[in-house]
Subunit: 521 residues, 2 copies
């Protein structure tokens, strides 16, 4: 573990200089490293620190080595044996949230994790606003770059507060983010990401020194390479985290967020696509929608005509987040409160009312909180898009969803959503639930894995080569397929046998023939 | 030539991005370079410059590649084909003067050369004063580092003024300097150079970016490695310039300046030593001494009891520089105005007077300019030291001066001194003059050669390995040998047969038996 990562800490007991051995301090260190089979170069910072540090340390020092993709650079030097304190940072650079992990590089342990809003938000809630803000304006672009860096340093400070570890001694950092985020981190105009012909400036930045990027780590910051404009380093990192590029069986990887990115394949091919999954998944469009923060309804159960809610943070419900919406829709559907086309059925419950102002039906899922017909419609478009993307990419691969042995659902949404609910509403395909995996924050996981195993660098080119990219925008029958997938769970019920069964149970319940509920999470 | 150096300029006609080929701008450039067999990495500066430069240039660009010792870094990018403008800088970083050459790296031509005083002089005329000024004082050390960098930028500006070439587009720079100078350039405390056990901080700095060092070149600054405290990169550079490490015959390299550094050897061994040759060689100690600038007497001939002077700059003589002193002493000696022990003979000429104030004899070599007995004594010590160093290092090598087939006399003094005069006074050994070569500024030459041929990097380790260092300070009979060498030309006249012959001619002249002068330069 401790020898395979992007950084190493080596304790050296050097011979002090003498009349017999007048070798320079620099050579003493290089020689001692060579004795351990390590060829390195000393950074300017280390050269400048040699005196009086070595004398003071009685020539017992620890050097921090940082890998730059091809060789070791001694990036820092400390007195005495500090090899036990060997840390690094892994970052998921999202457009909304940035998550950073402090990693003990000797053991691989996640010492702490912190998440903050991306400070770029000051220049636009959504990516496009930020892109237009910075387009052809070097000053604005620099503001956004600096905001990104400031987000990183804020996280480093938070991690330091929580752990007591001096995070500026973390030798190296691995960042996974989408193409726009990496452009902004480096300070590149990102208009190219969203404009034809979609050839970006740089998608393989690799290693730059912390100093060059303005990030206070002594070693290097590695940014995961991307494959295409909408298929960035966060997805490549997800490949590494899930390892689908090394398996014989077919896997499907789906990072569900504001945008959806998916990859299907195995060790022989990786077919990729990306599309707007819709902000509904993050609670964006829904009127009482909110992010998964305190007060958000994150789970919903309908029992005897009443809602049982799971609320984040042990507080009164203030809104509903993505996983709550999926649960809610699933329950409404299974219990007959909405029909196959997603229309609210006012006769099913007194909680469904005609809300005059909006001139539409709505269901009261919590005191004062209403879920409207238009919210449902919006969400159905989202889930249809998600399903259709999966279906489409499988047909592009000459296969069906049934050929997939493992589904990896990544992203915050993929992590928290109840699998069965997602199947019920036809967002996920109707397969054995054990084949659907929450991949969690696979972008962050892949970043951490690479930090701890530089051998993964060798895999990256292979992954990028395996990948081929399908532009969904260019697909003709996409809309048609999406319409079919807008039903609950799908116009083709044969695709959802388990849902059909549950539906029958739900209908029985509704008819007052109270049977035992057949499922529970 | 243009492909072998530390930098390359490559003109690329890239395909513009299209729906069919959406590769990133970065990959387009890397791909085009790979087509030419070049694996490179783009610097952050280049990444940031890609847009809108590539579009504006219609995807016809020239990249400047800088070698970092192991790989190519694209350090700059320009619109259109600028491959004909390919420049680099070679520097001799001396403690008194800094000389810089602007090199056309396509042809190897020296476009221009400029020399200025080292701005470190503000912190002390001599190196030791500067070292004490900066010892254990980071602020002072930084002042000296900045002064060094300022000297470089001053030279770059001068070269730009003279040539019209934008010197900040010079891709790479090679610097050769002694160990203290390189310490100061990098910002390292240099007290170690002069204090026991003489183990320096760093003697193999290698490649650092211009940015890291504060030097405005887009690529790298390479500093020649040194062998030991008194045997710096300027001498290794001199080895490269003279090539003595590749010859079968024995050569002796002598860089004569305030300090004398010498190397004797061939392809199998290089024995090195260094010692204080004395500032007399640069006109320092002599009362009317001056540097080789306008007004300096640089050559002296004695004809019919009168001095014929060569003066720098077509002006009235204002003092005498090193080569002038050697000539003067040689003429005084050959014509019997000083005896074997270097004592002025007042009866030889009316120009020799007892100068009351100093209570010593002195010779008037130009109107109002006197050369004193004490000046002679000082200079004799200097020349004795120089000769003794050569003699001693040969005996250490188990040989005599007669075994040397070529003498390379480097440094400003070595360049300008009349060889025969130096032989006459016993500073150089009495060998065929064709075997004594002026190596000129071999430090600068080696810097330029490496700039144009990165293959030389491979030779450096070999040179350093061949070298073994003799500390003259530790030699017991050094003083004894020096006393013997303080005579004119030497107490052992058998070592100087040609001088003995010339002496006889000179004596004849003195005796009034005017013969034809047997030599003329």
């Amino acid at each position: 573990m401790k020898e395979n990562g992007l950084s190493r800490k080596i304790y050296l007991e050097l011979d002090p200089p003498s009349e017999e051995d007048q070798a320079s301090c620099q050579r003493r260190i290089l020689r001692a490293l060579e004795d351990q089979g390590i060829r390195a170069k000393l950074s300017l910072t280390v050269l400048k620190a040699l005196y009086p540090l070595c004398d003071r340390a009685d020539w017992k020092v620890t050097v921090s080595l940082a890998y730059d993709g091809e060789r070791w650079i001694a990036a820092a030097i400390e007195e005495g044996d500090t090899s036990a304190e060997h840390y690094g940072l892994a970052v998921d650079l999202g457009s909304t949230s940035v998550v950073m992990q402090l990693i003990d590089c000797n053991t691989g342990r996640i010492v702490a994790q912190e998440s903050v809003y991306n400070r770029q938000i000051a220049f636009g809630e959504d990516i496009l606003t930020r892109i237009f803000y910075s387009k052809d304006d070097a000053g604005h672009l620099e503001e956004i770059r600096q905001a990104t860096v400031d987000t990183f340093t804020e996280l480093m400070k938070k991690l330091q507060q929580v752990t007591g570890v001096d995070t500026e001694k973390c030798i190296s950092m691995v960042v996974a983010g989408n193409t726009t985020m990496i452009h902004f981190l480096i300070g590149l105009d990102a208009f190219c990401v969203f404009s034809s012909p979609y050839a970006v400036r740089a998608d393989e930045p690799g290693f730059y020194t912390g100093k060059e990027l303005g990030i206070p780590v002594p070693g290097f910051v590695f940014c995961y390479p991307g494959k295409a404009n909408y298929l960035g380093g966060d997805i490549i990192s997800g490949m590494v985290a899930t390892g689908i590029h090394k398996k014989e069986e077919i896997s499907l990887f789906f990072d569900v967020g504001t945008n959806g990115e998916l990859v299907v394949g195995n060790q022989c091919f990786l077919l990729c696509g990306a599309g707007a999954a819709g902000p509904a998944l993050e609670g964006g469009v829904v009127k009482t929608g909110m992010r998964a923060a305190a007060g958000a309804v994150e789970s919903v159960k309908l029992t005897d005509g009443e809602f049982e809610l799971g609320v984040i943070g042990d507080t009164a419900p203030a809104g509903i987040c993505g996983s709550g919406i999926v649960d809610l829709l699933s329950e409404l559907f299974i219990h007959g409160w909405v029909d196959l086309r997603g229309r609210l059925q006012p006769e099913a419950s007194g909680k469904i009312e005609w809300r005059g102002k909006e001139e539409e039906y709505a269901v009261c899922y919590a005191p004062g909180l209403w879920f409207f017909q238009s919210d449902i419609n919006e969400f159905l478009r989202t889930k249809a898009a998600a399903y259709t993307m999966m279906e489409y990419i499988m047909s592009e691969a000459g296969m069906g969803l049934g050929d997939v042995s493992d589904f990896y659902m990544a992203g915050a949404f993929g992590t928290h959503v109840r699998k069965e609910s997602a199947v019920n509403i036809g967002m996920y395909p109707d397969v054995e639930l054990s084949r659907i995996h929450s991949a969690g924050n696979s972008s962050l996981d892949g970043a951490r894995m690479l930090l701890l195993d530089r051998g993964i660098l060798m895999e990256l080119d292979h992954i990028l080569e395996l990948m081929s990219y399908v532009q969904f925008g260019a697909v003709e029958d996409f809309v048609q397929k999406m319409v079919a997938a807008s039903a609950l769970p799908h116009t083709d019920m044969e695709r959802y046998p388990s849902v059909a069964a549950r539906l029958r149970d739900g209908q029985k319940e509704k008819a007052g023939e109270r049977g035992k509920r057949t499922w529970r999470i």
